[in-house]
Subunit: 174 residues, 2 copies
């Protein structure tokens, strides 16, 4: 059955610590924070990403959320093939997760163009598309009005995969 | 049959003058510019908007494209009920179309919040959703890597309509 959803932000506050600790294979010691354990838009986004088994393509204008960074690092450690395309102007900003992900061995490519690489999409296992207005930043997740559309219809996923591969090749530094 | 599409930007260059002049009810005198007449992502976006017959909801972080401004003005003049929600910080910027649309009598509401109203979606006749990463600016259309997803599936359109109505009420100045 196809996963289909629309997530709106700002996300309600909810604790994502146990979700991430469990994905990291840690002991599920209860988080002492007072946030509710119910699902919120943000935890649903994390769960969708953590469902990856083989591949994850990320095409992101900006990426500074520590929790999303942890989720991507876990996937890489599990053997999921992670590839990241990002915008050169934003990857050097304070709080960017890009440098840390590169240090873990994740492949990252960025533009050399004058325009922005303004996409904000992810493709899980070549079949689940996660796209919308949401940059992967703390501000966007918790302060902005944003949307994320989740779909598995090949009519939509295929063009985004093709776009990713086009950009990936174009940003090849070799 | 459901309209479904993915549009990528930057758009190829193509002349949109005749398309807009025809929509405005002007004489279809040929445009003297040298741009190709073939469809491009931008002309496809304009055509989708111009297909509106009854209503157009716009929920846009920034709106400065003169062509998109003309398209929205045409729809208003035709009697389509146009409602615009936008971000307060951006509506005052140079080149914003918001002031001009307001002068025509189009209803505009904006946020009073500290976060951004960062959506970029349009809903045509309550049934066609146009959403993605694309802000309605000249730079985004012609310089940036952007995506726009077009869909009529009620599963996706309905939540966006609900989100629009929520924001519309919340930004009610009265
Ligand atoms: Zn917690
Ligand atoms: Zn022309």
């Amino acid at each position: 059955r196809r996963r289909r959803a629309v997530l709106f932000f700002p996300s309600a506050l909810c604790c994502t610590e146990e979700l991430l600790a469990e994905a990291e294979g840690g002991r599920p010691s209860p988080c002492p924070c007072p946030l509710p354990r119910a699902d919120c838009s943000f935890s649903r986004l994390l769960r969708l990403l953590l469902s990856a088994r083989r591949s994850l393509e990320l095409c992101l204008f900006s990426f500074s959320s520590p929790e999303l960074g942890r989720a991507v690092a876990v996937l890489h450690r599990r053997g999921v093939r992670v590839r990241v395309v990002t915008d050169a102007q934003y990857m050097a900003l304070r709080g960017s997760q890009i440098g840390a992900l590169r240090m873990l061995g994740i492949q990252v490519r960025h533009d050399q163009e004058k325009g922005f690489m303004h996409h904000k999409f992810a493709i899980v296992d070549k079949k689940l598309l996660i796209t919308g207005s949401l940059n992967w930043t703390v501000e966007a997740i918790h302060n902005n009005r944003e949307n994320v559309v989740v779909m598995e219809d090949a009519e939509y996923v295929r063009p985004f995969l093709d776009e990713f591969e086009r950009i990936w090749e174009e940003y090849n530094p070799d």
